[in-house]
Structure formats: C-alpha cells, structure tokens
C-alpha cells in the first residue's frame, strides 16, 4: 500500500470539495447510488482489501489538463513510467504536440494524455476477453494484462491511444488512474509530478484552484462523442487557425469559426508523389488479418454458393456437387479455413489463451465474430464429413450442419464486418468495408469453385456462366464500395482524408494498379459470362487478377487506417519514426524506446496449467459469465 509522507506537499493531495451531480454529458457523477451492492464489495489492490478512506470513492474522477501551462517537460510521463515500472517502449501517458503560426508568432501546444476513463469505454465493450472493468470506485477503467490475450482490439477502438499493446510481452496494459494513490488521498503520480502546473485530477467537472474553464475539447484532442472521456481542459490562449501535427500523420486541426472548435483536416506533409511501397504494404504486422479475412471470406463465399445453390436447386451447382470436384473443394475449404484461423490465432500476443476470445459475447463484436466463425467452421466440418456418406440420414445431418454453417456465416460474417466499423478509425468506418468483405466472398469464393471444377473436369458452360456472373457481381460490389469510399473520404473532416491521401500518394501506384486490375477483371468476368470467352484461360487469369487485387486491397485496408488519436511528438509516439527505426535497425538499441513487432509462441504448458489449475466450479462460473458478463 502507498504510504503518505507526513510532509506530503499540498499539490499531491486530492482536493476536498463539493462536486457537481451531473457531468457535461448528462451522466450522474456518482457511479453507484449509496446502498448499491457494488459498494459492499471489497476494493482489492494487489490482493489487499483497501479500507474505504476516500469519501469521494464512488464518484467519477478524471484528469484536468491546462493546455495553457503545459511545457512538454515529460515529467508526467516519467513519473508514470517510474511508478508503473514500464520499459522505454511503453507508456501509459504521453506528451504529443501540435504547432502553428510563423516565426516568431509561433505556437506549440503540448498535450499530455493518458486514459480518460470514459463514461462509455469502447475498450471495455470491444475487448473479447473481458480484461476490462469499469469500477464503481472512481469510475476507473482498469485492464488486467493477465486476462488479455493480446489481440490489440482495444487499441483499435480507443480514440485516445490509451491502451498500450506491448509487442515484447504480447499483452495490453494501460493507465490505472493510480487508484492505489487515490485510496490514500493522493493525486496520481503524473499529476503530482507536473512541473508546468498543467495537470490536475479530481472528481469530474470540479475546477482546480486558479482555473476558469472546464472544456471538453482542445485542438489536437480527438473527438469526444465516441466515448465521453472523463477529461476536462483549460485552454484560454488564442490558438492559430491551423494547428499541425508534427508526427508523420498527414493531419492538421483547423479552426471552425462558427463553433470555435478544431476539426482534423488533411495536411499533405510529403507532397503528392506516387509510390508503390510494396515492402511496407506486404510487410505489415496485420498480415495475419489479411490472411484470415481473405481465406475465411473465400470459404464462406464458396460455402454459401454450395449450400444455397443446392437448396434452390441451381443446376450448375447441383451437378457440381455430384461431380468429383466436390470433395476436393470441401477439403480445400477446410484447409483454407484452418490456415486462416491458425494465422489469426498465432498473431495474438498470447495465442495459448485463444479460448478467451468468447468471453465477452455480451458486448464485444470480436467475441461474436469468433463465436460465429467457430459455428461456421463447425458447420463446415460437419457438412464436409457427412458429404462422404451417401444416404438419407447423412444428408439430413449434413443439412443440419449446413444450417449451422450458414448461421455461423451470417453471425461471424456480420460481426467480422461490424468489428471494423470503429468510429475512431474513419478509413474503416464505412459501408465499403462490408462491401469489400462480401465482394471477396463472391469473387474468390466463386473462383475457388471454378478452379476446382476445372481441375477435376467438372466445368461446363452453365457453371462457367454462373460463376463468372457471380464474380462479376462481386467486382461490381467492390468497385461500387470503393467509389463511394473515395467520394466520402477525400473531403472528410477526419483522419479519413489523411488515409485517402496516403492511399493516393505513399501507396498511389499500388492503389491505382489494383483499381486498374479490377476494371480488367470486371471486363474479363463479363466476357466469360456473356460472350462465352474461353473459360479455362479466362478463369485462370481472372483468379490471378482477383487474388492480386484482393491482396493489395486488403493490405491497403490495414496499412492505411489512420486512427482518430492523440498527436505524437517528432520521435516519441511518431509512427513514422518507429517505422524508420525498425527499418534501419536503430530499434536494436533498447534505449531508443522502439521495440520490434514479434511473434509469440503458443505456450502449451501455460494452457495446460490453466486447464488443470482451474477448478471445475470456476470453469462453470467462467462459462456462465460468457453470457452474463
């Protein structure tokens, strides 16, 4: 337990004052009413129940940041990392800055930011493992790295870059509000360390001494409507009209005179030169997601066509099912799904904790996706297995599995799309994401069937026409999505505009190659479907084209996303410098504060230990909580 020194300076002590009842978003500041059962449970920190000494324990607390005063001295960050024993590459609190004006009328605005312990914590809702809890105590949003399996989804959804995915340990950790200090009446370590008199902390909406504002926004601070963050600001000095990020993100914040607020806008930092950037595109850490989504959607597309085709008795498909290509196709589908799932799982920071993916069925789209995909895979396996038998009973069971597979496909497919509809990631938060996923199913799924049909001599004109039409439809869906995406993103007042800018510059050549190939693919597919174009050569070429466009498109999807997040500094918290340091080897120096991305082992021992070390009762309780939360 933290000990308060006899001579603890006043600035380190929590204020004792009357607080408001309702916050600026209309929510009660008291987290739970007086006699709520939650007040009766022990508040346990490091296995030690805390005596309830802080009278404000059940009120939402938050940081207060006076942007007029921050000098960017990093004392808050240092104090935080010292207290939490964080290595150089990890930080729960960071200072970034934006700047504007012309010498000497220049202005730099430093922003120190940690977790905002939001009213609506998207991290908590998004986390599939239920590693997050929003405590009634202080309204603190705390995360347990021992539960986390390192998928990093919370780092995707948080608009403030609060959860930190440690590439070394393969787990997330974050600001804990220094609840241990709060319990004894001390302000968090960062606040106590502040040398600019900029940071403060208290019951939300309370105004520190000598401060006049309790704003919810300042230039450079991400939008607040997503999560209702518990941070308040003072920023009285007139800022420049444009405040520019100094990290490599092509974003600036432009003042809207009508509201006085700042909106993110494109800042074309590196000109308009078009490049390929294959290395970055294909070397992304998110390649596991590329492999997973492409393979799963391909298989889902094929499965959908097979099952539905059989049910509505589309003759080209029913005859395909009778052909010798049918079983090999199912085998390929099983292999593809396994590979996709394997890649996805092994990309986790703690792959041996895979089973925790279901834990947050109640809230997390990731859990639901995993549940859906699992159902789909089960359906596919059963469907494939019973395809080996030719009797009425087997067909009946196969139909049951097909139904399960389709249900899993619907659920998993929907949440696979839904989980990317993240407000903090404008590049993804568009219906094009769904269009692209559907299009992948139609194009690659159709082509998979075509390739197998051709390999086993089961191709015929009817099937070729049908599949080519489906593929063509897929390309149209993809193209329509892309057009709408470009139309909406380019002028967007969000980081989406910067994503679009990177798409057309840094990856400009790759982007246009993909677009061009899509047009060629569409012509080819329509030619096969309606002009009886040589189908063998046609399908081979089409497969090649759409595989290439699929891979380029999907890698672009992951590499281009620019989150709505905190501005960084020039070296620290600058993705551009991090990439550079990894590329040239500067990151080999540990004290540089840049760690390499790495893969993590599947620790069978740890898994077995959990299985044997957890009592049956606890296992049952755990299973129950999957549904109850």
């Amino acid at each position: 337990m933290i000990k308060v020194r006899d001579n603890e300076p006043d600035y380190a002590l929590l204020r004792k004052e009357e607080s408001k009842e309702v916050n600026q978003y209309g929510k009660l500041i008291e987290t739970v009413p007086e006699h709520n059962r939650l007040r009766k449970q022990d508040f346990v920190i490091n296995d030690e129940a805390q005596p309830e000494e802080n009278p404000d324990r059940y009120k939402q607390h938050g940081f207060y940041f006076n942007a007029d005063n921050c000098i960017g001295c990093h004392a808050c960050e240092a104090a935080c990392s010292e207290k939490n024993d964080n290595p150089a590459h990890l930080a729960f609190r960071s200072v970034g800055f934006v700047e504007g004006g012309t010498y000497p009328n220049y202005q730099r605005l430093n922003i120190s930011m940690a977790c905002n312990h939001c009213d609506d914590p998207v991290c908590l809702k998004g986390c599939p493992t239920r590693a997050y809890t929003k405590f009634a105590e202080y309204g603190a949003v705390l995360q347990d790295p021992d539960i986390c399996f390192g998928c990093g989804y919370c780092t995707w959804v948080c608009p403030y870059n609060a959860p930190q995915l440690d590439p070394v340990k393969g787990e997330v950790s974050k600001c804990n509000m220094c609840v241990d200090r709060l319990e004894v009446g001390l302000k968090p370590a960062c606040v106590s360390a502040c040398l600019g008199n900029a940071l403060d902390f208290g019951v939300i909406e309370s105004v520190p001494e000598n401060r006049t504002q309790v704003k919810t926004e300042i230039p450079g601070f991400p939008r607040t409507d997503i999560t209702h963050p518990n941070i308040r600001f003072q920023q009285t000095r007139t800022t420049q009209r444009d405040m520019v990020r100094v990290d490599n993100t092509a974003v600036k914040y432009h003042k809207d005179d009508s509201t006085g607020k700042f909106q993110p806008e494109l800042d074309p930092k590196h000109g308009y030169q078009r490049d390929w950037n294959w290395k970055k595109l294909l070397g992304s850490h998110e390649n596991a997601h590329v492999a997973f989504t492409l393979s799963l959607q391909t298989v889902m597309g094929a499965f959908f066509m097979l099952t539905l085709g059989a049910w509505v008795e589309l003759s080209p498909l029913t005859s395909f099912i009778q052909s010798s290509a049918y079983l090999p196709l199912l085998l390929v589908m099983l292999v593809l799904t396994s590979v996709g799932l394997f890649k996805l799982n092994m990309h986790l920071g703690k792959p041996h904790r895979f089973y925790r993916g279901f834990y947050n069925l109640k809230m997390s789209p990731v859990s639901r996706e995993i549940a859906g995909v699992t159902a789909f895979f089960t359906g596919l396996m059963g469907y494939s297995f019973f395809a080996l038998f030719d009797n009425g009973f087997a067909t009946f069971i196969q139909t049951l599995f097909a139904t399960l597979g389709l249900a899993g496909l619907a659920l998993g497919g929907y949440f696979m799309y839904k989980l990317y509809r993240i407000p903090a990631r404008p590049y993804w938060d568009h219906w094009q994401t769904g269009a692209s996923f559907v299009a992948t199913g139609l194009t690659l799924g159709g082509l998979l069937i075509a390739l197998l049909a051709m390999s086993f001599g089961a191709m015929n004109t009817g099937l070729a026409t049908l599949l080519a039409a489906v593929v063509g439809l897929g390309v149209i869906v993809e193209g329509a999505g892309l057009l709408a995406h470009a139309r909406d993103l380019q002028p967007a007042e969000s980081e989406g505009a910067a994503s679009f800018y990177e798409q057309t510059t840094t990856y400009g050549k790759s982007y246009w190659l993909r677009n061009g190939l899509l047009v060629v693919a569409l012509c080819l597919a329509l030619s096969i479907a309606f002009l009886n174009f040589n189908s063998t050569f046609g399908f081979l070429l089409l497969s090649l084209l759409l595989l290439v466009t699929g891979i380029i498109g999907r890698t672009l999807f992951y590499v281009l996303v620019i989150p709505t997040t905190m501005p960084g500094a020039f070296f620290w918290k600058n993705k551009g410098f991090v990439d550079h340091a990894r590329e040239v080897g500067l990151a080999d120096m540990q004290q540089l504060g840049v760690a390499y991305e790495r893969h993590h082992k599947f620790k069978l021992g740890a898994l077995l230990k959990t299985i044997y070390g957890t009592s049956l009762k606890e296992k049952i309780a755990q299973a129950k909580r999957v549904l109850t939360g």
Partner: protein, 734 residues
C-alpha cells in the same frame, strides 16, 4: 464493475516493494534538487522521488531525476583500471597501484622533461566539492602545474568573469525565492522549462500567485519565449547592443536609481558616455529588436519596484559572454536591483556542482575565491596546506580552451582528464581530435569507460558516480547540499576522492601535506578556510546540511554559535549598502563597446547555427543516452529548421540532411518547425560527433568561454537517405 459485470477483476499495480529511502542531492543540473532513492529488499535501487521538505524542489523532480536510480548500473560504466602504451593499442586490465604509478610517473617525466606547466589537469563541474578541493590541493600544492582548469570554462566562465568584474567577486547574489517578490523578470538566453525545469516550476508557482511580467530574450521561440509576456527574438550575438540601448533609455529618461548608484557604484559617467552611442533608433538595426520594444522593456524594467534578471548559456556562450553578464549587472546596478528581495541578477548555472568548483577547486586561483595574483592569498593557503608559497604561480594559467591550443603548439604534452569529455564538448572537434592524438600521455578518470575521450587515453581510471560518493555540492542559489554514498561504485571503481588521495600519496612522499580521507573532515577543513570570506560556510557540517536539505552560503560559525538556525531559503548577497567585494565596497559600472567578431551567415554559409539543450538529455548523453525513459524523446541528433527554408532546399520532415560549416560536417535529421527563423537552425549539442564538429567557438576575451551559439553553416539535401541513415546510426553507440 459497471456495465453489468458480475465479477471484479483483480487490480494489479506495479509494486517495487521499497524497503528504504536514501537521501542524495541530484547529480544532473545545478538546480540542486533533493532526491530520495528507494531500495528494495535486495538492496537494489529501484525508484527515485523528490524530497518533500527540501526548499529547492519541494517534492518535485524532472524526468532525469525521476530515473536517476537507473544510473548506477547503466551501460558503459568502468569497472577496472585500464592501461596501454599507445592509445591505438587494446586496453589491458590492471591494478590500481600500477595505474596510479603510471599516471604519477608520466606526470613526473613530462614535467621534468618539458617543464612543470607542460602537464595539464582538466577537471569538471560534476564532482563533489570535497573532491574539487582535494584535487586543487594536489594540483596546486604538489603537482604544481599552472595549467589546471575545469570544463566549467565551457559553461560558467563568463558568469564568473562578469560577476568578478562587476562586483569584485564571483557569487550569484540572488536566490529562487526572488521569484516570489519580483515585479519584472527578464530571462536572457535562458530556457528554464527545458534546461532547469524545477527552477521553472518555482518561477511558475510564483507567477501564478503574482502575475509579474516575464520578458524572454532568445532568438528561438522556446517554451519560455512562447509563455512570456514579451518575447524579444534577438539577432544572435547582439545582447550587448540591446543592453546598451536599454541603459540608454534608462539614463536618457532619468529612470535610474540615483541614490543607489551614488552609494553603491563607481563608473557611471564612463558608462553614460558609452551607452550614448546606443540610441534605440540605431541599436534596433543591429540587435533586431525594434525601437519601441526596447524603450518599453527598459521602462518596464526600470520602473518595477523589484526587477530580476536571469540568464544561462545564451549569454555565457558568446564572444561577449563576460560583457553580457556585466551588461546584466549594469542594468541591475543602475536600477538598484541587487541584494533585495525580487531584485537580482541571477546566473542560472549549468552543472550540478559548477558552483562548488568555482568556490573550491583552485582552478582559477586558490580555494574560496582566493587569487593567485594576491600575495596574501598565496601566503595564507601555503601556510594552511604546509607548502612553500613560492611553489604557487603568481598568475593563473591557461583556461581549458587555451590548454587545447597549447597541446596543438606542443607546449603541453600530457593531460589528466577528470569527469569531462572534450571530444564531445569542445568546439571544432576535428581540431581537438588532432590535439588528443599528439599527447604523449593522457589519463582519463571517469565513471564511464565509453566516454569518447578515453579512446586517446593511456590510462583509464574507473570512478564512482553521483551518490556512490560522499560530499557536498553547491547549486545556483549558493545552496550547499549533501550527496551520500548510498551505493558502492561498481566492481573496482572508486570514488574520485579516493583516487585523488591515492594519487596524492605518490606526490606527497614527505608527508608534509595533510589529505584527510573522509569527506566530512575535508568539509570542516574547508570551513576553516572560508571563515570571514564571502562564501563563508564555517557554520555548516555534513549533518546539518542534510537535516536542512541544503544550506545557502554564507552560514557562519558566528551564526551557528549565536543559535541562528540556517534559513530555509531567501539568503542574498550584497544586501547592505556598499558591501560589494571591491576594496571600497562599491560595484563597477563598466562600459561595454560592441565589437562584432562573430562568424555570421553569408552567401556560402547562409544559416545561423544555434546550439542548445534538450530537457531529456544531460550534456554528452553518457548518462541519459543509456536510460531509455529519457533517451527516447530524442534518440538521434536533429535540427529544427524553418519549414519555408526546408521547402526551398527540398527537405522533408524526417529527412537526413548534411550540415556543413567551415570546420566539418554533420548528418542529422530535419524537423521543420516555425520555432526557428528562416535563416537559423537549432541543433542540440548533446550528441557526440555532431554539433561540435561544426562549431567555431571563438573565445570570449575575459572568460575564454567559446561562442557555441553563433556559427554559420550551410545545409545540403542528401540524395541517398539510406546511406545517411546508416551513417547516422554508426555514429550512435548509445
């Protein structure tokens, strides 16, 4: 537990399980913060925190102090003495006796062969005061070379020189408490938030209570400049012109404090005659600050009931450094702003114990601001140390910067470098490198074995660092604080004091001179020598200093006997009328003609090169370059370049660029920002083989301090960025 969760997840927060906190004053800058290092059960230092009842920092620490406990086992520490015949051979481990004998024998050999002064000793501002005093006794009393100086010549010499010229003695007259009383603060070339964050915090605290005007004079828009009420973006190297123009306004408009001037100063008429040449109308053309602003600031300053000036390297590191300090003092004296609450001229010092070396190292003279030029001082010290007064030179010898020129010319053949790294810190390193190669013998005594200067050494002596040692340090406001040996030096490394005492044994064969072994005893010996002098610390002991969390000098034996407890803060010098250190008690008003001898931008080298400090780094990065949680904020060298200039040169954010001066070149990363003018770049000096490859470092005629901040360069775009990245990385061992 909200959002319908039925189970409370356990809360796990890092617990370093600290068993004990141990006290030491911080070993980075001169602010003088009190630190407690937390030790766990295994006796490992795992945490640092500010001492709550220490008046200086009141519980706060900057990011360097917060991670200071990581210094003890940082990379590159020296663990055994090393020896070799030629600097280009491999090191051999050796025993202390062998290493010390070798140093002793080589000093003797060189002195016998080339004369006593052909061996130079270069010290530092990093050690503890008792160590400085002991080294001074050894060097002045036994080795007997007059070429003995410290790296403080690179940072504080101009302040020392300016104080001496104005007031008759070194010694900053003010204190941090002055922020709480001042009605106007001018910061000359000082960027407190970055360089002295805790002093900034003290200033900010005072300013939040009484919003006094803050005027910042700096060519760059630093955080302090941005937060100032008025920012005067001056043309580099022209501070004296601005000072003279302000004095012109003050004298012209009769704003001076006539009674104070009469009672406390000499030289008004000569000063009046000189400043008459600096009508703001003409001065504005030179210093780049418009006439109205000059008048406005001069009036504000002169009319303030109490006005305070602080300065740092923006003034000191200039060819007019000493003059700039005198100019600040002139302004203070004209307006009666010395020795009163909120009215002072306070040099914000650099190194943790720069003040200690100024007071006690004997580099520029003899202990406690005594002068070699004064026969009585020589007599007194010789008697006290039991050496022959004739053994002392009658005039101080060379400054560090001149010693290197003397190595070039062959005048100096051997050198003992102590806790300093001239290969990184002296200007024009190409020249320094050649000089180092020429040395017949070089001993390096440092806590880091990877200090770049060690590559030219014949003997390396591994020393302790910071709180591995015992003694005191003096901070900017003349506060003596305690450093305690809370950790042993690693392996065979030894405290500097131990090394000096062992070396002294070898020179002190007759045993005539007494070298106490314990720092506490040495401090008492120093106390005796300080009695009745300006920096009288005869009332202090190690124990009392620690209890008080530092005591400002003077604190005398008489005060102690009278039962007067040391004040928590707020001790000032020259508070009485005519109490300056010239014989008549009056300070001098000194005329300052401006001679423009800087290297200024021209067609071939069109950019000003302005060098300076970053908050996360300390000096040559031997310390902070290895602590990730400091280093990560600026791990490689960079320039701030104006975006308009960058655009014209075709340079993009994050590109490596080549900087070329008349001396050499350097490869750095470009960060475009409007913080600097279009014809200027800012380059942090911390990185080895970088800024000082470019600097010219013309010397101040009084202080011999180099002008690090006024140089001209050109900037070249680099086509092959991959090769530049590789080169930049190769030059970064840490």
């Amino acid at each position: 537990m909200l959002f319908g969760r039925s189970k409370k997840n356990p809360i796990k927060i890092a617990d370093k399980k600290i068993k004990e906190w141990k006290y030491a004053a911080c070993g980075y800058c001169s602010t003088g913060c009190s630190i407690e290092v937390g030790f766990n059960q295994e006796g490992k230092p795992v945490a640092s925190r500010g001492v709550a009842d220490a008046d200086v920092n009141r519980g706060k620490l900057c990011l360097k102090g917060i991670f200071e406990h990581e210094l003890f086992d940082s990379a590159g520490r020296g663990t055994v003495p090393l020896i070799r015949d030629q600097w280009h051979q491999d090191w051999q481990s050796t025993h202390w006796d062998t290493a010390l004998d070798k140093v002793h024998d080589e000093i003797k050999r060189i002195q016998n062969q080339y004369g006593r002064d052909s061996f130079a000793v270069i010290s530092t501002g990093q050690m503890l005061t008792e160590e400085f005093y002991t080294l001074g006794k050894l060097t002045r009393g036994l080795i007997g070379t007059n070429n003995y100086d410290g790296n403080t010549t690179l940072c504080m010499a101009s302040a020392v020189s300016g104080y001496k010229r104005s007031f008759g003695s070194d010694g900053p007259p003010g204190c941090y408490e002055d922020f709480s009383h001042t009605d106007c603060l001018i910061a000359w070339g000082s960027n407190l938030p970055e360089q002295h964050p805790i002093i900034y915090w003290r200033m900010k605290e005072a300013q939040e209570k009484r919003n006094f005007p803050l005027i910042v004079i700096d060519p760059r828009v630093t955080m302090l400049a941005q937060n100032a009420h008025m920012h005067l973006a001056i043309t580099p190297g022209t501070d004296i012109v601005l000072q003279n123009a302000m004095m012109y306004v003050i004298l012209d408009e009769g704003l001076e404090d006539k009674a104070y001037i009469d009672a406390n100063t000499n030289g008004l008429e000569a000063l009046r005659a000189e400043v008459a040449n600096y009508n703001p109308v003409t001065a504005q053309k030179i210093c780049g600050i418009d006439e109205d602003t000059i008048r406005n600031v001069a009036r504000l300053f002169a009319r303030a009931p109490a006005a305070m000036q602080i300065w740092t390297m923006g003034i000191n590191q200039s060819t007019h450094g000493s003059d700039g300090v005198v100019g600040i003092n002139n302004l203070a004296l004209l307006t009666g702003n010395i020795g009163k609450a909120g009215g002072t001229s306070l040099s914000i010092t650099g190194q943790c114990n720069a003040m200690g070396t100024r007071e006690w190292s004997s580099c520029s003279g003899l202990p406690n601001h005594r002068l070699l030029e004064n026969p009585q001082d020589r007599e007194d010290i010789a008697k006290f140390w039991n050496v022959d007064p004739e053994f002392f030179p009658k005039k101080r010898g060379m400054f560090q910067t001149d010693i290197y020129a003397a190595i070039e010319t062959g005048e100096i053949k051997g050198i003992w470098l102590i806790a300093t790294n001239p290969m990184s810190s002296l200007p024009n390193t190409a020249r320094i490198r050649k000089a180092m190669e020429k040395l017949e013998f070089c001993a390096v005594q440092d806590c880091y074995q990877d200090s770049e200067s060690a590559q030219y050494a014949h003997v390396y002596l591994p020393a302790g660092t910071w709180a591995e040692k015992d003694g005191v340090m003096t901070n900017t406001e003349r506060r003596i604080s305690r450093v305690k040996p809370i950790m042993p030096p690693p392996a065979e490394a030894k405290a500097d004091l131990w090394i000096f005492n062992r070396m002294a044994e070898r020179f002190n064969t007759e045993g005539k001179v007494n070298f106490p072994e314990k720092a506490g005893d040495i401090f008492l010996e120093m106390g005796v020598l300080s009695e009745g002098r300006l920096s009288d610390n005869s009332g202090m002991t190690h124990e009392l200093i620690e209890t008080c969390r530092g005591i400002q000098w003077p604190y005398t034996k008489q005060q102690l006997k009278a039962g007067e407890h040391p004040k928590k803060g707020g001790v000032r010098l020259y508070t009485e009328t005519a109490s300056f250190r010239y014989s008549d008690g009056k300070a001098k008003l000194i005329p300052l003609p401006f001679i423009d001898n800087n290297e200024v931008p021209d067609d071939k080298f069109p950019f000003w090169l302005n060098t300076g400090r970053l908050i996360e780094h300390w000096h040559g990065r031997t310390k902070t370059g290895k602590i990730g949680n400091n280093n990560k904020y600026s791990p490689i060298p960079f320039i701030e370049i104006n975006p308009d200039a960058a655009k014209e040169l075709g340079i993009q954010r994050g590109d490596y660029v080549r900087l070329v001066s008349r001396r050499a070149d350097a490869v750095v990363m470009a960060t475009p920002t409007q913080r600097v003018a279009k014809n200027m770049v800012f380059l942090p000096f911390h990185f080895h083989d970088c800024a000082n490859r470019l600097t010219l470092g013309l010397l101040d005629p009084h202080s011999r301090q180099p002008a690090y901040k006024q140089n001209a360069i050109r900037i070249e775009r680099i086509e092959d960025q991959a090769a530049a990245a590789k080169l930049s990385m190769e030059m970064r061992k840490f």
